[in-house]
């Protein structure tokens, strides 16, 4: 019994990690209709940045804070310089640009920090906590808590601030937004900045569990796409819940079902994507416009 709870909590944590990156992807998709294939690599780069700050001697909290600020700026810069020129253009061009960005950032990180792997400290440490008589990892609980906090924060910003109003307006109707005085470009920049920060948080939480190397976010990206698909690509809440479902289901299946070996694990998110798209393309919470199948 205790084992099941632990497996579920751990799956919930892993699912939160998928959900966090999925959230970043969905935020950008919602405001611009662009699927940012480079989101994982941006998060990876941010995490390496945090590592560099740590190596420079900063305490963990400061290093992470600094990383978040730099990620925000980086996200804004990427939108302004790299994505803006092709926004609104042909879909395929935008896809290629984000793929190019993927390659660029991945290799850039390799060039700066090399292709070896290194370890990254966990914010929550190794401890365990007794919850209702079951011993669960503090880290798992911490990760879930962080994600919930992020979702709550984003909700408040989106629904109760001027910025959030502008971001929702731009996503809905860019032309009318301009007419009421919203600078669409600047709003999109901020959106990318926020998504980059969310991605950076995801990276910093994931890195302690895997080794930190330039490719560590690659697999996560697919899981995140699966989470976003399951949740509905334009629903931030869906991304998170989709991530939770996948994380928990995968952990339960991995523990109790023998059939899926380690090397075929990657087929799980792919299977999810396929099944969702064939039977319910809008996902759990997505709006009808999303799939048009």
């Amino acid at each position: 019994m205790e084992r099941v709870v632990q497996v579920i909590v751990d799956g919930w944590a892993t699912g939160s990690l998928y959900g966090a990156l999925a959230l970043a992807v969905v935020l950008i998709y919602r405001s611009t209709g662009i699927v940012n294939f480079a989101q994982g690599e941006m998060a990876m780069f941010s995490t390496f940045g945090a590592w560099a700050l740590l190596e420079a001697g900063l305490p963990l909290a400061l290093a992470l804070l600094g990383t978040l600020v730099l990620s925000f700026l980086g996200g804004m810069l990427i939108e302004r310089v790299i994505v803006r020129p092709v926004e609104g253009g042909e879909v395929l061009t935008v896809v290629i640009v984000t793929l190019g960005l993927f390659i660029l950032i991945n290799s850039g990180a390799g060039w700066i920090w090399g292709f070896g792997n290194r370890s990254f400290p966990s914010v929550f440490g190794d401890g365990t906590l007794a919850v209702a008589g079951v011993s669960v990892a503090v880290e798992s609980l911490g990760i879930v808590a962080v994600l919930i906090a992020i979702v709550a924060l984003l909700f408040v910003v989106s629904q109760r601030t001027r910025l959030g109003l502008a971001m929702r307006a731009v996503a809905m109707n860019p032309d009318s937004s301009r007419l009421v005085g919203i600078s669409v470009g600047r709003t999109l920049m901020v959106g990318w900045g926020i998504a980059a920060v969310v991605g950076a948080v995801a990276g910093a939480l994931i890195a302690p569990r895997l080794f930190l190397d330039v490719n560590f976010m690659g697999g996560v990206l697919i899981y995140s796409f699966a989470a976003a698909t399951l949740g509905g690509f334009d629903s931030p809440l869906g991304a998170v819940i989709g991530g939770w479902i996948i994380g928990i289901a995968e952990n339960l299946a991995g523990t109790y079902v023998d059939f899926i070996g380690a090397d075929l694990k990657i087929l799980v998110p792919l299977g999810v994507i396929l099944v969702v798209l064939l039977f319910r393309p809008t996902g759990l919470f997505g709006s009808a416009g999303v799939a048009r199948a």
Binding site: V35, V91, G108
Partner: protein, 363 residues
Amino acid sequence: MTGPPRGTAARTEQRLRAVGLVALAAVALAIPFFFGSFRVGQFTQAIALAVAVLGLNLLVGYSGQISLGHGAFFALGSYVSAILIVRADVPYLLTLPIAGAACFAAGLLFGLPALRLRGLYLALVTLGLAIATPQLIKRFDGLTGGTQGLSVPRPAAPAWSGLADDQFLYLLTLAGAVVMFALAVGLVRGSVGRALIVVRDNEIAAKTMGVNLATVKTRAFAVSSMYAGVGGALYMLPIGFVAPESFPLALSFGFLAAIVVGGLATIGGAVFGALFIEFVPVYASDVDEALAGVIYGTVLIAFMYALPDGVMGLARRLWARRPAAAPPSREQDAAEDGDADGLSRGGARSEDVVQGIPGGSSR
């Protein structure tokens, strides 16, 4: 939509195109005799890639279905050919059509469920296919040799030809590519091509014209996969070895990059695209191993700003600006925007060139 150009301008253009093709042929034939065997091997691979790129362009540029998984069919073609040569002693020439047929069937099978998916979702599923490929190869290691891969004996030049092995292989690959390109030209200029373009640009109109969407789209997948398969089989021969690592995700990305660099919905573009993905990483890593990817990614992005129509688009625009031409009226500009092969691409359609990623285009 415009048919082939008429009148003296047309004849000049056709004559120039013929001259261009002859020049290209001359250069292509000269290559194996001017370069060392390593380079010749690279050119051979570039030709094989061009065949695969052409297939992807048929799918994306002409029928408007986006695929990030072309590498999977490429791998399938390579492995089918390799397995037949190594385990069944099939002569390598014969493996080419077999690989093509196998991939055609696979593409057909994949194309059927893909019908229900659009833009973003098709991209995701095909992305999944590309990612799953190395794992699937390892899974069936009895057949594929798993992580060890398969060593495939390289075809030897027949004695009567007086050629070195690499030269012979190059010319063979070239011949195969010419056949595939000619086939593509035939497809694109005929009713198939027209049906593809109508489907790509306006599905509703296509339906009213009596075009069976499902048939056209699944066949486009099948044909494109066939090209990938033949390309894959040809690609493998100069190396003499296949392994799961030969077909990473980057390969599928590369194919996509190649069609955009070369020019969507063009046939000639496949050549430029293939040269791009074969040689840019090489030269980039000449500069610096680690920087190679940075350079590649940057060049790719720069291309999208400067030449979104690809190299062929640039060529076409330069051609339209030649001094002999009368100042273009608007209609003439639109006509000249038409594909070098005589089919109009409809200019910059932000919504429809690829069945749009929903909500993504008119920002």
